[in-house]
Symmetry: C2
């Protein structure tokens, strides 16, 4: 219900909250999808968030809303609930969602709640909490539809009929041997179209792609996206089937990784979101500004070196922003193209020479065009150059046009090379694509610009 | 098979191509997944791309490889094939993939090929080509598993058994009335667990979310992601069921939209990719540099206005890069946070005051911290200020620290406000988050910086 429908829902909920129209609110809460309620919570005041959540009639729906809500909102709800309430909600949730919720809480409170869970749930959640949050183990669901290899199709269908809705998105049936090892997979469709007396190992596909609990979530996402899977099975280090990652979780991973890359490229770190306070946001963003800060100090030192030149031709200062701005833009273009190419698997470090060659050629073409235009503009604006500097207009025009062109070529090189180098060194290339590129371009650009200026002064 | 496995595959293919070991290559082509072959093509020379493609033994697999390949590579393969070969490949493809392939070709050649297709295929493809590529019609598959409402469960299962593999990812069975209107949906699981004599309208879910052929692909992706659907049905303007968009297509849309946003934010336009020539890339990127160019000219004009100040205190020029660099970084942080928040539905234009308030407060905190540090650095570096300027060191320190802090606050405001304003005006906020922010920050930052300098000069 994106956009329009959502806006209407928010408006109705707000109006009913103001009027204390609890019965109507409960009606809406019954009808609306938990994901829509979670989206509504984002737009309410803290106090109203709690009021609305307390009205949700169904305990399972409460769990689903918590699972879909932004982490900050979920946490504020949890903080206002008693431990018994959380226990009750968690017992109605899927294992993986329950683990995510418990991860939000301080360790002590989470332990207390796990201690109060029924044994089976506690074991589930405890195991899941043992996996890194960005690993296959951390995002998998432990509720997997798996049967022994000798099961017949008839028995399998009976099991499916007897099973509750618990099995999250059961569209594959996994087949295991006597050790619990994954040996094959059937689609529900194969099950439906096969003879009832056939055993699973007669109809199953034995070539199953699986991951282990410690596989990085980004690798899981790439596998699912590349092969169009709906789910991928997860095995532990003894090769036992322990869970599945479903395609809806993969979509969340893909969005999360894209967001993280964008924030890295913006020089903001990957961990901030829109719900943090200004203070928390400043604390997280501060260290990422260090690159710009030291880079800026570097530029200062270089300009100081060329102070004599600058005193003779003050007009040179006027072209610092355009030189660095154009260079920064070309550098960011190149860095973003290469970084995204790496993330999508379209560029790899083997292609270093080809990629850099193309970026530098592009930078040179753009630099030539904008350099010529800038020369014309500078000649016009500083036609009376002799009045303000000891230079002729052509000298200034030549310096600024060569300066901007050189800066754009350097920027294209730096923007293309940094992400590839970082990737080869095993560092996230998105970090390289941010302020490291613009800052390096600033320093190198300033240097070459003033060197050209000094040469033409002689 | 990301990373390691893929690198091995590329290496083997290259070695075998060098040795002309065709039989071994065919063996590899038979075993490997079309998506992996498509990824291998990316890393081969043009000549080898064609050689390898010609060796693919199975005509259907040729189609799948073309569908998975990057558009540039698919086009170069198509250009080397005769029309008859393309017709044969297309007749073995899914309707939506076939349409995507034909869209790559020049119109005349595409028409010739459609003319040579079997009637049924030609109608399919023709209809699909009529939809905008970024609409639900443009990404849907017309092969949808739909049956009349009076069908029994037994008949439905028999139909499923009789159907070929053609039905792309049939995990939902859609139910239509006598006019072909969508009236309900069953999961395969419901089918399996229901009594054989029940009719579909007894077991179906009637609350079906659907989209129309002209729904924007981004809206489709949001619906599928929000409600964890595996597929969403598409109806035409007469409310007839005409296709489905499956979750694997949605994953492609989500990646595509994220890439487009990143490139927009980098001021590179949304349409470039890593496969274009330097010339094509420069042509596409050139107009996006205009914002930086005119912004840079604006900064030049402003610095010219303050030329008298600059001649008195040449040291002011040395702090231009750090002022604009820090401002640009804070502005990009804010703009990226807000733009991504809008894309993910976490921020909307209603929250203008709250969002801007938080960003400005963050900018002020960061500006205060870095301003103080910069004042200290400037006092140290220019302790002998009197030697190079007519100022005392404290005047310079005060100017640069106030300048950088003011610039960071302005940048936080501009970075937060632009994307929200663009969104309200119906323009993609990612465009605002790019050079428009940094350029505005440059101009406003320069102005306030020199104003502070001039005031302290008096």
């Amino acid at each position: 219900m994106p956009s329009q429908g959502q806006a209407l829902l928010v408006e109705s909920v707000r109006k009913l909250l103001r009027r204390n129209a609890e019965r109507n609110l409960i009606k809406i809460l019954r009808r609306a999808h938990p994901a829509d309620i979670a989206a509504v919570l984002r737009q309410l005041e803290d106090r109203d968030v709690l009021r609305l959540f307390q009205l949700v009639p169904d305990i399972e729906e409460r769990g689903e809303i918590l699972a879909e809500a932004d982490p900050g909102i979920a946490l504020s709800i949890l903080e206002s609930l008693a431990d018994e309430d959380i226990v009750e909600i968690i017992e109605g949730m899927n294992g993986d969602d329950a683990a995510d919720i418990l991860e939000l809480l301080p360790e002590q409170r989470a332990s207390a709640i796990i201690g109060a869970l029924e044994d089976e749930d506690a074991t589930y959640v405890d195991t899941l909490l043992g996996y890194a949050p960005d690993s296959a183990g951390g995002i998998m669901s432990p509720d997997v539809f798996a049967l022994p290899r000798r099961t017949t199709v008839r028995e399998a269908i009976e099991t499916l009929q007897a099973s509750h809705e618990e099995l999250e998105m059961a569209f594959y049936l996994y087949v295991v041997n006597e050790h619990g090892h994954l040996v094959g997979v059937c689609s529900l469709r194969q099950l439906v179209v096969s003879a009832p007396d056939a055993t699973l190992d007669e109809i199953m596909e034995t070539d199953v792609t699986s991951v282990t609990t410690d596989t990085d979530q980004e690798v899981v996402a790439k596998l699912v996206a590349r092969y169009n899977y709906l789910a991928i099975p997860v095995t532990d280090d003894a090769n036992r089937l322990v869970g599945i990652v479903t395609v809806d979780d993969v979509i969340d991973v893909i969005k999360e990784e894209a967001t993280e890359d964008m924030l890295m490229m913006a020089g903001a770190g990957g961990d901030i979101d829109n719900a943090q306070s200004a203070f928390a946001s400043a604390r997280l963003r501060m260290p990422w500004l260090l690159a710009s800060f030291f880079g800026g100090l570097g530029s200062m030192v270089i300009i100081r070196v060329f102070e004599a030149t600058l005193l003779q031709v003050a007009a040179l200062a006027a072209f610092i922003p355009i030189t660095l701005g154009m260079g920064g833009n070309v550098g960011t273009q190149a860095a973003t193209l290469v970084t995204r190419g790496i993330a999508l698997g379209k560029v790899n470090t083997e292609q270093f020479v080809a990629v850099i060659g193309r970026e530098v050629a592009t930078g040179a073409l753009l630099g030539a065009i904008y350099g010529v235009v800038l020369a014309l503009v500078a000649s016009l604006v500083y036609a009376d150059a002799a009045a303000v500097t000891s230079w002729h207009a052509w000298q200034l025009a030549a310096t600024v046009s060569l300066g901007v062109a050189a800066c754009m070529v350097i920027a294209a090189f730096v923007g293309g090379a940094f992400p590839l180098l970082f990737e080869r060194l095993g560092i996230d290339p998105a970090i390289a694509a941010g302020p490291f590129v613009t800052t390096s371009v600033d320093i190198l650009g300033i240097t070459i610009y003033f060197m050209i200026g000094s040469l033409l002064l002689l």
